[in-house]
Protein backbone atom coordinates (compact mmCIF):
# COMPACT_ATOMS: atom_id res chain seq x y z
CA UNK A 1 0.00 0.00 0.00
CA UNK A 2 2.68 2.45 1.02
CA UNK A 3 4.86 1.62 -1.98
CA UNK A 4 1.93 1.84 -4.36
CA UNK A 5 1.04 5.26 -2.97
CA UNK A 6 4.62 6.41 -3.28
CA UNK A 7 4.92 5.25 -6.87
CA UNK A 8 1.61 6.82 -7.76
CA UNK A 9 2.60 10.14 -6.24
CA UNK A 10 5.96 10.19 -8.00
CA UNK A 11 4.30 9.42 -11.32
CA UNK A 12 1.78 12.22 -10.75
CA UNK A 13 4.55 14.67 -9.91
CA UNK A 14 6.51 13.77 -13.02
CA UNK A 15 3.42 14.03 -15.23
CA UNK A 16 2.47 17.41 -13.79
CA UNK A 17 6.03 18.68 -14.13
CA UNK A 18 6.28 17.58 -17.75
CA UNK A 19 2.85 18.81 -18.78
CA UNK A 20 3.20 22.21 -17.21
CA UNK A 21 6.78 22.78 -18.34
CA UNK A 22 5.57 22.08 -21.86
CA UNK A 23 2.49 24.23 -21.33
CA UNK A 24 4.69 27.06 -20.11
CA UNK A 25 6.52 26.90 -23.42
CA UNK A 26 3.34 26.70 -25.45
CA UNK A 27 1.97 29.50 -23.31
CA UNK A 28 4.68 31.80 -24.62
CA UNK A 29 3.65 30.83 -28.15
CA UNK A 30 0.02 31.66 -27.45
CA UNK A 31 1.00 34.88 -25.79
CA UNK A 32 2.94 35.99 -28.85
CA UNK A 33 0.20 34.96 -31.23
CA UNK A 34 -2.63 36.54 -29.27
CA UNK A 35 -0.72 39.77 -28.70
CA UNK A 36 0.23 39.83 -32.36
CA UNK A 37 -3.33 39.35 -33.61
CA UNK A 38 -4.60 42.02 -31.27
CA UNK A 39 -1.98 44.39 -32.63
CA UNK A 40 -2.67 43.40 -36.24
CA UNK A 41 0.56 41.48 -36.59
CA UNK A 42 1.19 37.87 -37.47
CA UNK A 43 3.51 36.84 -34.68
CA UNK A 44 5.95 33.96 -35.14
CA UNK A 45 5.44 32.47 -38.59
CA UNK A 46 8.70 31.07 -39.87
CA UNK A 47 9.64 28.14 -37.63
CA UNK A 48 7.35 25.28 -38.51
CA UNK A 49 3.72 25.63 -39.65
CA UNK A 50 2.31 28.91 -38.28
CA UNK A 51 5.47 29.24 -36.22
CA UNK A 52 4.46 26.37 -33.97
CA UNK A 53 8.01 25.13 -33.59
CA UNK A 54 9.10 28.53 -32.28
CA UNK A 55 8.77 27.04 -28.82
CA UNK A 56 11.32 24.35 -29.70
CA UNK A 57 13.64 26.92 -31.22
CA UNK A 58 13.43 29.04 -28.08
CA UNK A 59 14.05 25.98 -25.95
CA UNK A 60 17.17 25.05 -27.89
CA UNK A 61 18.36 28.62 -27.69
CA UNK A 62 17.84 28.86 -23.94
CA UNK A 63 19.44 25.49 -23.24
CA UNK A 64 22.54 26.04 -25.36
CA UNK A 65 23.20 29.65 -24.43
CA UNK A 66 26.27 30.35 -22.38
CA UNK A 67 25.51 30.49 -18.70
CA UNK A 68 26.95 33.81 -17.63
CA UNK A 69 27.40 34.70 -13.98
CA UNK A 70 28.60 38.30 -14.10
CA UNK A 71 31.40 39.45 -11.83
CA UNK A 72 30.20 41.42 -8.84
CA UNK A 73 27.07 39.38 -8.26
CA UNK A 74 26.52 37.34 -5.14
CA UNK A 75 27.04 34.16 -7.07
CA UNK A 76 25.29 31.66 -4.83
CA UNK A 77 22.11 33.66 -4.41
CA UNK A 78 22.22 34.70 -8.03
CA UNK A 79 22.28 31.07 -9.08
CA UNK A 80 19.58 29.85 -6.71
CA UNK A 81 17.02 32.63 -7.36
CA UNK A 82 15.56 31.32 -10.65
CA UNK A 83 15.23 27.87 -9.12
CA UNK A 84 13.13 29.35 -6.32
CA UNK A 85 10.71 30.89 -8.79
CA UNK A 86 10.28 27.74 -10.87
CA UNK A 87 10.30 25.30 -7.95
CA UNK A 88 7.73 27.17 -5.86
CA UNK A 89 5.44 27.53 -8.84
CA UNK A 90 5.40 23.76 -9.25
CA UNK A 91 5.28 23.07 -5.51
CA UNK A 92 2.11 25.13 -5.29
CA UNK A 93 0.58 22.83 -7.87
CA UNK A 94 0.70 19.93 -5.41
CA UNK A 95 -2.61 20.89 -3.82
CA UNK A 96 -4.49 21.70 -7.01
CA UNK A 97 -6.92 19.07 -8.36
CA UNK A 98 -6.36 19.45 -12.08
CA UNK A 99 -9.15 17.13 -13.16
CA UNK A 100 -11.88 15.13 -11.45
CA UNK A 101 -10.77 11.66 -10.41
CA UNK A 102 -11.08 9.10 -13.17
CA UNK A 103 -10.49 5.38 -13.60
CA UNK A 104 -7.53 4.26 -15.65
CA UNK A 105 -7.07 0.49 -16.27
CA UNK A 106 -9.31 -0.27 -13.32
CA UNK A 107 -7.28 1.96 -11.03
CA UNK A 108 -8.80 5.11 -9.60
CA UNK A 109 -6.60 8.13 -10.23
CA UNK A 110 -6.95 11.36 -8.29
CA UNK A 111 -5.22 14.03 -10.35
CA UNK A 112 -4.01 15.86 -7.26
CA UNK A 113 -0.65 15.18 -5.71
CA UNK A 114 -1.69 15.77 -2.11
CA UNK A 115 -5.20 16.61 -0.95
CA UNK A 116 -4.07 18.34 2.20
CA UNK A 117 -6.67 19.94 4.38
CA UNK A 118 -5.05 23.39 4.21
CA UNK A 119 -4.93 23.33 0.38
CA UNK A 120 -5.62 26.94 -0.52
CA UNK A 121 -3.53 28.27 2.33
CA UNK A 122 -0.64 26.08 1.18
CA UNK A 123 -0.98 27.22 -2.43
CA UNK A 124 -1.03 30.90 -1.55
CA UNK A 125 1.82 30.46 0.90
CA UNK A 126 4.05 28.69 -1.60
CA UNK A 127 3.19 31.16 -4.33
CA UNK A 128 4.13 33.90 -1.90
CA UNK A 129 7.50 32.26 -1.33
CA UNK A 130 7.94 32.38 -5.10
CA UNK A 131 8.45 36.09 -4.81
CA UNK A 132 11.83 35.41 -3.24
CA UNK A 133 13.02 34.53 -6.74
CA UNK A 134 12.74 38.03 -8.17
CA UNK A 135 13.62 39.57 -4.83
CA UNK A 136 16.85 37.65 -4.25
CA UNK A 137 17.76 37.57 -7.93
CA UNK A 138 17.31 41.32 -8.16
CA UNK A 139 19.29 42.08 -5.03
CA UNK A 140 22.13 39.70 -5.89
CA UNK A 141 22.52 40.95 -9.45
CA UNK A 142 24.65 44.05 -8.73
CA UNK A 143 22.56 45.91 -11.26
CA UNK A 144 20.61 49.10 -10.66
CA UNK A 145 17.58 48.02 -12.61
CA UNK A 146 17.51 44.63 -10.95
CA UNK A 147 17.71 46.33 -7.58
CA UNK A 148 14.82 48.66 -8.40
CA UNK A 149 12.89 45.64 -9.54
CA UNK A 150 13.60 43.80 -6.29
CA UNK A 151 12.43 46.81 -4.28
CA UNK A 152 9.27 47.02 -6.34
CA UNK A 153 8.78 43.30 -5.89
CA UNK A 154 8.82 43.69 -2.13
CA UNK A 155 6.42 46.63 -2.29
CA UNK A 156 4.04 44.76 -4.56
CA UNK A 157 4.25 41.67 -2.41
CA UNK A 158 3.18 43.30 0.82
CA UNK A 159 0.34 45.02 -1.02
CA UNK A 160 -1.39 42.28 -2.95
CA UNK A 161 -0.85 39.44 -0.50
CA UNK A 162 -3.20 41.21 1.91
CA UNK A 163 -5.90 41.43 -0.72
CA UNK A 164 -5.48 37.81 -1.78
CA UNK A 165 -5.80 36.54 1.76
CA UNK A 166 -8.71 38.74 2.76
CA UNK A 167 -10.66 38.26 -0.45
CA UNK A 168 -10.80 34.47 -0.19
CA UNK A 169 -11.59 34.60 3.49
CA UNK A 170 -15.28 35.14 2.74
CA UNK A 171 -15.61 32.09 0.44
CA UNK A 172 -13.64 30.04 2.96
CA UNK A 173 -16.12 31.08 5.64
CA UNK A 174 -18.94 29.87 3.46
CA UNK A 175 -17.35 26.55 2.54
CA UNK A 176 -15.80 25.92 5.93
CA UNK A 177 -12.78 24.16 4.49
CA UNK A 178 -9.46 25.04 2.89
CA UNK A 179 -9.28 22.08 0.55
CA UNK A 180 -9.96 22.83 -3.09
CA UNK A 181 -11.78 19.52 -3.44
CA UNK A 182 -14.15 20.60 -0.68
CA UNK A 183 -14.65 23.86 -2.53
CA UNK A 184 -15.61 21.87 -5.58
CA UNK A 185 -18.02 19.66 -3.67
CA UNK A 186 -19.61 22.69 -2.01
CA UNK A 187 -20.28 24.32 -5.36
CA UNK A 188 -22.02 21.23 -6.74
CA UNK A 189 -24.81 21.57 -4.18
CA UNK A 190 -24.80 25.33 -3.57
CA UNK A 191 -24.07 26.83 -6.97
CA UNK A 192 -20.95 28.68 -8.04
CA UNK A 193 -19.36 30.83 -5.39
CA UNK A 194 -18.92 33.65 -7.90
CA UNK A 195 -22.67 34.36 -7.69
CA UNK A 196 -22.63 34.46 -3.90
CA UNK A 197 -19.31 36.31 -3.67
CA UNK A 198 -18.85 38.45 -6.80
CA UNK A 199 -16.80 41.03 -4.92
CA UNK A 200 -14.41 38.44 -3.54
CA UNK A 201 -14.09 36.96 -7.02
CA UNK A 202 -13.10 40.26 -8.59
CA UNK A 203 -10.72 41.11 -5.77
CA UNK A 204 -9.03 37.73 -6.02
CA UNK A 205 -8.81 38.06 -9.76
CA UNK A 206 -7.17 41.47 -9.48
CA UNK A 207 -4.76 40.11 -6.89
CA UNK A 208 -3.96 37.21 -9.22
CA UNK A 209 -2.60 39.70 -11.71
CA UNK A 210 -0.27 41.08 -9.07
CA UNK A 211 0.59 37.57 -7.91
CA UNK A 212 1.73 36.51 -11.37
CA UNK A 213 3.18 39.92 -12.17
CA UNK A 214 1.17 40.40 -15.34
CA UNK A 215 0.03 43.64 -16.93
CA UNK A 216 -1.42 45.91 -15.49
CA UNK A 217 0.77 44.99 -12.50
CA UNK A 218 3.84 44.07 -14.51
CA UNK A 219 5.94 46.68 -12.77
CA UNK A 220 8.46 44.22 -11.32
CA UNK A 221 9.95 43.65 -14.75
CA UNK A 222 8.67 46.48 -16.90
CA UNK A 223 10.75 46.44 -20.05
CA UNK A 224 10.25 50.08 -20.85
CA UNK A 225 11.33 51.35 -17.45
CA UNK A 226 13.75 48.90 -15.90
CA UNK A 227 14.77 46.66 -18.82
CA UNK A 228 13.86 43.19 -17.58
CA UNK A 229 14.09 44.05 -13.90
CA UNK A 230 15.42 41.13 -11.91
CA UNK A 231 16.04 39.22 -15.15
CA UNK A 232 18.40 41.79 -16.63
CA UNK A 233 21.61 40.00 -15.72
CA UNK A 234 20.32 36.50 -16.36
CA UNK A 235 20.96 34.53 -19.50
CA UNK A 236 20.26 31.11 -20.88
CA UNK A 237 18.38 28.57 -18.85
CA UNK A 238 18.51 30.59 -15.64
CA UNK A 239 16.40 33.22 -17.31
CA UNK A 240 14.34 30.39 -18.80
CA UNK A 241 13.52 29.13 -15.32
CA UNK A 242 12.12 32.53 -14.44
CA UNK A 243 9.98 32.40 -17.56
CA UNK A 244 8.78 28.85 -16.90
CA UNK A 245 7.92 29.83 -13.34
CA UNK A 246 5.95 32.86 -14.53
CA UNK A 247 3.91 30.97 -17.10
CA UNK A 248 3.36 27.92 -14.88
CA UNK A 249 2.12 30.33 -12.22
CA UNK A 250 -0.34 31.81 -14.69
CA UNK A 251 -1.76 28.37 -15.40
CA UNK A 252 -1.92 27.39 -11.75
CA UNK A 253 -3.60 30.59 -10.65
CA UNK A 254 -6.11 30.14 -13.47
CA UNK A 255 -6.87 26.68 -12.06
CA UNK A 256 -7.21 28.11 -8.57
CA UNK A 257 -9.63 30.84 -9.65
CA UNK A 258 -11.75 28.36 -11.59
CA UNK A 259 -11.83 25.91 -8.70
CA UNK A 260 -12.48 28.52 -6.04
CA UNK A 261 -15.16 30.57 -7.70
CA UNK A 262 -16.40 29.02 -10.92
CA UNK A 263 -17.49 25.59 -9.87
CA UNK A 264 -14.27 23.77 -10.71
CA UNK A 265 -14.89 20.49 -12.47
CA UNK A 266 -18.46 20.27 -11.29
CA UNK A 267 -19.82 16.78 -10.70
CA UNK A 268 -16.67 15.17 -12.09
CA UNK A 269 -18.08 14.00 -15.40
CA UNK A 270 -16.14 14.36 -18.63
CA UNK A 271 -18.14 17.47 -19.41
CA UNK A 272 -17.18 18.96 -16.06
CA UNK A 273 -13.52 18.24 -16.71
CA UNK A 274 -13.72 19.90 -20.11
CA UNK A 275 -15.54 22.84 -18.56
CA UNK A 276 -12.72 23.24 -16.06
CA UNK A 277 -10.16 23.28 -18.85
CA UNK A 278 -12.30 25.79 -20.71
CA UNK A 279 -12.44 28.08 -17.69
CA UNK A 280 -8.68 27.82 -17.24
CA UNK A 281 -8.18 28.61 -20.91
CA UNK A 282 -10.37 31.68 -20.55
CA UNK A 283 -8.44 33.00 -17.55
CA UNK A 284 -5.15 32.35 -19.29
CA UNK A 285 -6.43 34.14 -22.35
CA UNK A 286 -7.54 37.02 -20.17
CA UNK A 287 -3.99 37.40 -18.87
CA UNK A 288 -2.82 37.85 -22.47
CA UNK A 289 -5.79 40.00 -23.39
CA UNK A 290 -5.16 42.58 -20.71
CA UNK A 291 -1.53 42.74 -21.70
CA UNK A 292 -2.57 43.93 -25.14
CA UNK A 293 -5.17 46.38 -23.87
CA UNK A 294 -4.19 47.91 -20.56
CA UNK A 295 -1.41 50.19 -19.45
CA UNK A 296 0.79 49.42 -16.48
CA UNK A 297 0.32 51.13 -13.15
CA UNK A 298 3.10 52.71 -11.14
CA UNK A 299 4.28 51.04 -7.92
CA UNK A 300 2.75 53.77 -5.78
CA UNK A 301 -0.52 53.43 -7.65
CA UNK A 302 -0.55 49.70 -7.05
CA UNK A 303 0.06 50.18 -3.34
CA UNK A 304 -2.60 52.87 -3.24
CA UNK A 305 -5.01 50.53 -4.98
CA UNK A 306 -4.29 47.56 -2.75
CA UNK A 307 -4.18 49.29 0.61
CA UNK A 308 -6.71 52.09 0.22
CA UNK A 309 -9.27 50.56 -2.11
CA UNK A 310 -9.14 46.80 -2.35
CA UNK A 311 -8.32 46.01 1.26
CA UNK A 312 -11.21 48.03 2.74
CA UNK A 313 -13.57 46.47 0.20
CA UNK A 314 -12.32 43.01 1.13
CA UNK A 315 -12.79 43.70 4.85
CA UNK A 316 -16.30 45.06 4.29
CA UNK A 317 -17.05 42.00 2.20
CA UNK A 318 -15.95 39.70 5.02
CA UNK A 319 -18.04 41.60 7.58
CA UNK A 320 -21.14 41.49 5.39
CA UNK A 321 -20.61 37.79 4.67
CA UNK A 322 -20.30 37.15 8.40
CA UNK A 323 -23.48 39.07 9.18
CA UNK A 324 -25.41 37.25 6.46
CA UNK A 325 -24.14 33.87 7.64
CA UNK A 326 -25.18 34.58 11.20
Amino acid sequence: METAYLIETVIKIVVILLIFSALAGIGTYFERKVLAFMQRRLGPMNVGPFGLLQVAADGIKLFTKEDIVPSGVVARIFKIAPVITAATAFMAAAAIPFLPSFTLFGYEVHPIVADINIGILYILGIMGVGLYGPLLGGMASANKFALISAARGAAVFISYEVVTGLSILAPIMMVGSLSLIDFNEYQISNGWIVFAQPVAFILFWIAAFAETGRTPFHLIANDHEIIDGFGTEYSGMRWGLFAIGEYANMFFISFVISLLFLGGYGDGSLLGALALLGKVAFFFFFFLWTRAAWPDVRPDQLMWLCWKVLMPIAVINIVITGIVMM
Binding site: V34, F37, M38, Q39, R40, R41, L42, M45, W289, T290, A292, A293, W294
Partner: protein, 204 residues
Protein backbone atom coordinates in the same frame (compact mmCIF):
# COMPACT_ATOMS: atom_id res chain seq x y z
CA UNK B 1 -5.06 88.15 -53.41
CA UNK B 2 -8.21 86.36 -52.46
CA UNK B 3 -7.60 83.73 -49.80
CA UNK B 4 -11.14 82.45 -49.67
CA UNK B 5 -10.39 79.19 -51.39
CA UNK B 6 -7.62 78.45 -48.93
CA UNK B 7 -9.57 79.45 -45.87
CA UNK B 8 -12.44 77.16 -46.78
CA UNK B 9 -11.03 74.01 -45.23
CA UNK B 10 -13.96 71.92 -46.41
CA UNK B 11 -12.87 69.10 -44.06
CA UNK B 12 -14.93 66.04 -43.35
CA UNK B 13 -17.16 66.03 -40.30
CA UNK B 14 -15.14 63.27 -38.66
CA UNK B 15 -13.01 65.83 -36.89
CA UNK B 16 -14.17 67.06 -33.52
CA UNK B 17 -12.65 68.88 -30.59
CA UNK B 18 -11.79 66.61 -27.68
CA UNK B 19 -13.59 67.57 -24.53
CA UNK B 20 -10.93 67.83 -21.83
CA UNK B 21 -12.12 68.35 -18.30
CA UNK B 22 -10.33 70.57 -15.82
CA UNK B 23 -7.93 68.84 -13.50
CA UNK B 24 -9.50 68.39 -10.06
CA UNK B 25 -7.76 70.40 -7.35
CA UNK B 26 -9.40 69.30 -4.13
CA UNK B 27 -9.74 65.86 -2.59
CA UNK B 28 -13.46 65.58 -3.26
CA UNK B 29 -12.95 66.31 -6.95
CA UNK B 30 -10.23 63.71 -7.19
CA UNK B 31 -12.41 61.19 -5.43
CA UNK B 32 -15.26 61.87 -7.83
CA UNK B 33 -12.90 61.39 -10.74
CA UNK B 34 -11.72 58.05 -9.37
CA UNK B 35 -15.31 56.86 -8.99
CA UNK B 36 -16.21 58.04 -12.45
CA UNK B 37 -13.23 56.40 -14.05
CA UNK B 38 -13.70 53.17 -12.13
CA UNK B 39 -17.28 52.69 -13.14
CA UNK B 40 -17.34 54.13 -16.63
CA UNK B 41 -15.87 50.91 -17.94
CA UNK B 42 -12.97 52.47 -19.79
CA UNK B 43 -10.94 49.33 -19.18
CA UNK B 44 -13.55 47.29 -21.01
CA UNK B 45 -13.50 49.68 -23.93
CA UNK B 46 -9.80 48.91 -24.25
CA UNK B 47 -10.45 45.20 -24.03
CA UNK B 48 -13.13 45.42 -26.67
CA UNK B 49 -10.93 47.38 -29.07
CA UNK B 50 -8.14 44.80 -29.09
CA UNK B 51 -10.59 41.89 -29.24
CA UNK B 52 -12.35 43.52 -32.17
CA UNK B 53 -9.06 43.82 -34.03
CA UNK B 54 -8.31 40.17 -33.27
CA UNK B 55 -11.67 39.04 -34.63
CA UNK B 56 -11.43 41.23 -37.72
CA UNK B 57 -8.03 39.72 -38.39
CA UNK B 58 -7.01 42.62 -40.57
CA UNK B 59 -3.31 41.85 -40.49
CA UNK B 60 -0.91 44.52 -41.67
CA UNK B 61 2.29 42.53 -41.52
CA UNK B 62 4.51 42.60 -44.59
CA UNK B 63 6.38 39.30 -44.61
CA UNK B 64 9.50 41.13 -45.55
CA UNK B 65 11.90 38.86 -47.35
CA UNK B 66 9.06 37.32 -49.35
CA UNK B 67 6.96 40.45 -49.70
CA UNK B 68 8.26 43.92 -50.28
CA UNK B 69 6.62 47.29 -50.13
CA UNK B 70 6.97 49.43 -53.24
CA UNK B 71 9.33 52.27 -52.55
CA UNK B 72 8.83 55.86 -53.57
CA UNK B 73 10.53 57.34 -56.62
CA UNK B 74 12.51 59.74 -54.43
CA UNK B 75 14.08 56.91 -52.50
CA UNK B 76 17.89 57.11 -52.52
CA UNK B 77 19.38 53.65 -52.45
CA UNK B 78 22.40 52.08 -54.14
CA UNK B 79 23.56 54.08 -57.12
CA UNK B 80 23.03 53.27 -60.77
CA UNK B 81 24.78 54.50 -63.87
CA UNK B 82 22.46 55.22 -66.75
CA UNK B 83 23.06 54.88 -70.48
CA UNK B 84 21.96 57.16 -73.29
CA UNK B 85 18.69 56.16 -74.87
CA UNK B 86 19.88 57.06 -78.36
CA UNK B 87 23.18 55.22 -78.58
CA UNK B 88 23.25 52.95 -75.56
CA UNK B 89 26.63 54.42 -74.62
CA UNK B 90 27.46 55.52 -71.13
CA UNK B 91 26.18 58.90 -70.11
CA UNK B 92 29.06 59.66 -67.79
CA UNK B 93 31.53 62.09 -69.31
CA UNK B 94 34.06 61.76 -66.53
CA UNK B 95 33.71 65.36 -65.42
CA UNK B 96 34.43 64.41 -61.82
CA UNK B 97 31.81 66.67 -60.31
CA UNK B 98 30.31 63.84 -58.31
CA UNK B 99 33.67 63.00 -56.76
CA UNK B 100 34.15 66.65 -55.93
CA UNK B 101 30.79 67.20 -54.29
CA UNK B 102 30.60 63.98 -52.36
CA UNK B 103 30.59 65.07 -48.74
CA UNK B 104 31.82 61.80 -47.40
CA UNK B 105 34.57 61.38 -49.96
CA UNK B 106 33.45 57.97 -51.01
CA UNK B 107 33.46 58.32 -54.80
CA UNK B 108 36.75 57.66 -56.52
CA UNK B 109 36.97 58.37 -60.24
CA UNK B 110 39.89 58.08 -62.63
CA UNK B 111 39.82 59.01 -66.31
CA UNK B 112 42.10 58.59 -69.28
CA UNK B 113 42.21 59.65 -72.91
CA UNK B 114 41.11 56.80 -75.10
CA UNK B 115 42.28 56.01 -78.67
CA UNK B 116 39.73 58.40 -80.15
CA UNK B 117 41.09 61.20 -77.96
CA UNK B 118 37.96 61.16 -75.89
CA UNK B 119 37.83 61.19 -72.16
CA UNK B 120 36.96 57.81 -70.78
CA UNK B 121 36.23 56.63 -67.25
CA UNK B 122 38.85 54.07 -66.33
CA UNK B 123 38.08 53.65 -62.64
CA UNK B 124 34.90 54.48 -60.80
CA UNK B 125 33.92 53.14 -57.42
CA UNK B 126 31.69 54.17 -54.55
CA UNK B 127 32.42 53.01 -51.04
CA UNK B 128 28.95 52.27 -49.75
CA UNK B 129 30.33 51.87 -46.27
CA UNK B 130 30.99 55.60 -46.21
CA UNK B 131 28.19 56.81 -48.46
CA UNK B 132 25.43 58.52 -46.53
CA UNK B 133 23.04 58.41 -49.51
CA UNK B 134 22.64 62.17 -49.45
CA UNK B 135 21.97 62.29 -53.17
CA UNK B 136 24.33 65.19 -53.94
CA UNK B 137 26.15 63.18 -56.59
CA UNK B 138 22.93 62.48 -58.44
CA UNK B 139 21.89 66.09 -58.12
CA UNK B 140 25.14 67.54 -59.41
CA UNK B 141 25.66 65.21 -62.34
CA UNK B 142 25.20 67.27 -65.52
CA UNK B 143 24.47 64.22 -67.65
CA UNK B 144 21.92 62.52 -65.35
CA UNK B 145 24.40 59.65 -65.42
CA UNK B 146 24.76 58.73 -61.76
CA UNK B 147 21.42 58.28 -60.09
CA UNK B 148 19.99 56.39 -57.22
CA UNK B 149 18.31 53.05 -57.71
CA UNK B 150 15.81 51.17 -55.61
CA UNK B 151 18.10 48.44 -54.35
CA UNK B 152 18.18 48.90 -50.61
CA UNK B 153 19.31 45.46 -49.52
CA UNK B 154 22.99 46.18 -49.30
CA UNK B 155 23.94 44.53 -46.06
CA UNK B 156 27.56 43.50 -46.10
CA UNK B 157 29.88 41.55 -43.87
CA UNK B 158 32.41 44.33 -43.70
CA UNK B 159 32.41 48.06 -43.47
CA UNK B 160 34.14 48.72 -46.77
CA UNK B 161 31.69 47.71 -49.40
CA UNK B 162 32.45 48.96 -52.86
CA UNK B 163 30.23 49.15 -55.86
CA UNK B 164 32.05 49.42 -59.20
CA UNK B 165 31.23 51.20 -62.41
CA UNK B 166 30.37 48.03 -64.32
CA UNK B 167 27.99 46.90 -61.61
CA UNK B 168 26.14 50.19 -61.57
CA UNK B 169 25.91 50.52 -65.32
CA UNK B 170 22.59 49.57 -66.89
CA UNK B 171 23.17 46.22 -68.62
CA UNK B 172 23.02 46.33 -72.39
CA UNK B 173 20.22 43.79 -72.68
CA UNK B 174 18.13 46.04 -70.48
CA UNK B 175 18.83 48.88 -72.90
CA UNK B 176 17.85 46.64 -75.83
CA UNK B 177 14.59 45.88 -74.09
CA UNK B 178 14.20 49.61 -73.39
CA UNK B 179 13.45 48.95 -69.72
CA UNK B 180 15.94 51.40 -68.22
CA UNK B 181 14.09 53.48 -65.65
CA UNK B 182 14.86 57.13 -65.19
CA UNK B 183 15.40 58.37 -61.67
CA UNK B 184 12.63 60.80 -60.95
CA UNK B 185 14.52 62.04 -57.99
CA UNK B 186 14.04 65.12 -55.93
CA UNK B 187 10.51 66.36 -55.51
CA UNK B 188 9.04 63.42 -57.38
CA UNK B 189 5.57 62.65 -56.21
CA UNK B 190 4.71 59.25 -54.80
CA UNK B 191 2.24 57.45 -57.09
CA UNK B 192 -1.42 57.84 -56.09
CA UNK B 193 -0.51 60.71 -53.80
CA UNK B 194 -3.52 62.72 -54.97
CA UNK B 195 -5.93 60.13 -53.61
CA UNK B 196 -4.19 59.95 -50.28
CA UNK B 197 -3.79 63.63 -49.51
CA UNK B 198 -6.34 64.89 -46.96
CA UNK B 199 -7.33 68.24 -45.63
CA UNK B 200 -6.85 68.86 -41.95
CA UNK B 201 -8.79 71.38 -39.91
CA UNK B 202 -5.70 73.43 -39.10
CA UNK B 203 -5.83 77.07 -40.11
CA UNK B 204 -3.07 78.51 -42.25
Amino acid sequence: MNNEQFNDRNVSNDYFLVDIEDYPTDGWGKFKRVIKRSFRGELFVGLWVVLREMIRFDIHTVKYPEEKMPIGPRYRAVHEMKRLWESDTERCIGCGLCEKICISNCIRIDTKIDENSRKEVSEYSINLGRCIFCGYCAEVCPELAITHGGEYENASDQREHFVMYEDMLTPLDKMKAATQLEFEGFGAITPHEDERVKKTPLAY
